[in-house]
Amino acid sequence: MDALVNKRIAKVIKGDQNAFAEIVELYQHQLYHICYRMLGNKQEAEDIAQEAFMRAYANIRTFDQNRKFSTWLYRIATNLCIDRIRKKKPDYHLDAEVRGAEGLNMYSKIANDDELPEEELMRMEVQERVQYEISRLPDKYRAAIVLKYIEELPLAEISEILDLPLGTVKTRIHRGREALRKQLSNL
């Protein structure tokens, strides 16, 4: 697989854009799926997955062909997803009062945004519910959980994608798993 990909990369570097289309073809579904599980939204997943391919194309010369291409590509994509998630949740001053809502501060607003009422949760399909709970995880746990359980990647590879020591990856998976256990306990 990697020899095949490297051949195409060599062509892309020589200016053959069609060779890049073949790379997109190969990785599109996995990359889109990671983005979708990270972001929980189809439009955003498509946008970010495409953005990741564009960046890979623009920086293809910097890719070290002795390494695994998918690791490099997933790293670009997870970083973009994390950026997007952080932009969606602006850095409010948590104790500032919410305009038009006397006595309510950002804590209560965030809590409201984050959790649907129990009866609504119970109506959800299992798949939808699991996705919803994943998307409530803090982004750093979310990335580790998605790569581990959705992509089923080995811990060493996740550590390379997220650029974190193995021990940190394990901690994040453990905490993410524990958080999901609590969130899904009524399922």
């Binding site: 200016g15 854009q17 890049f20 289309a21 997109v24 073809e25 599109q28 579904h29 990359l31 889109y32 799926h33 979708y36 599980r37 189809k42 498509e46 997955a49 495409q50 391919f53 564009m54 194309y57 623009a58 299992v126 798949q127 699991v130 996705q131 994943i134 959980i145 359980y149 959705i150 811990l155 394990k170 998976i173 453990h174 798993r177 524990e178 999901l180 256990r181 899904l184 306990s185 399922l187």
Partner: protein
């Protein structure tokens, strides 16, 4: 549920990561047989993993390759336009 010993929790997590030696596995197994709280905790975590893994793989939209290629910067025409 919170009374489970730290080292057993660690073993559970390592086991769920597929990161335990046979002797550690045995140790965990023996402990789980003796402690109901730990057993429940372990089962709940395993169930959580099964739920996460049950969500299906979805595919990129059918025209994904084409729309991605359209977003790339236009190819430099090095050898002139070929017809």
């Amino acid at each position: 549920m919170n009374a489970c010993p730290e080292n057993i929790i660690q073993l559970m997590n390592d086991h769920l990561d597929g990161d335990t030696s046979p002797s550690e596995e045995q140790q965990l197994k023996e402990y789980l047989e003796s402690c109901e709280d730990c057993r429940e905790q372990y089962q709940a975590l395993s169930k959580t993993v099964a739920f996460i893994q049950s969500i299906s793989h979805i595919q990129a939209p059918p025209n994904f390759v084409q729309t991605t290629m359209e977003r790339l910067p236009k190819e430099k025409q090095r050898a002139g336009v070929q017809r």
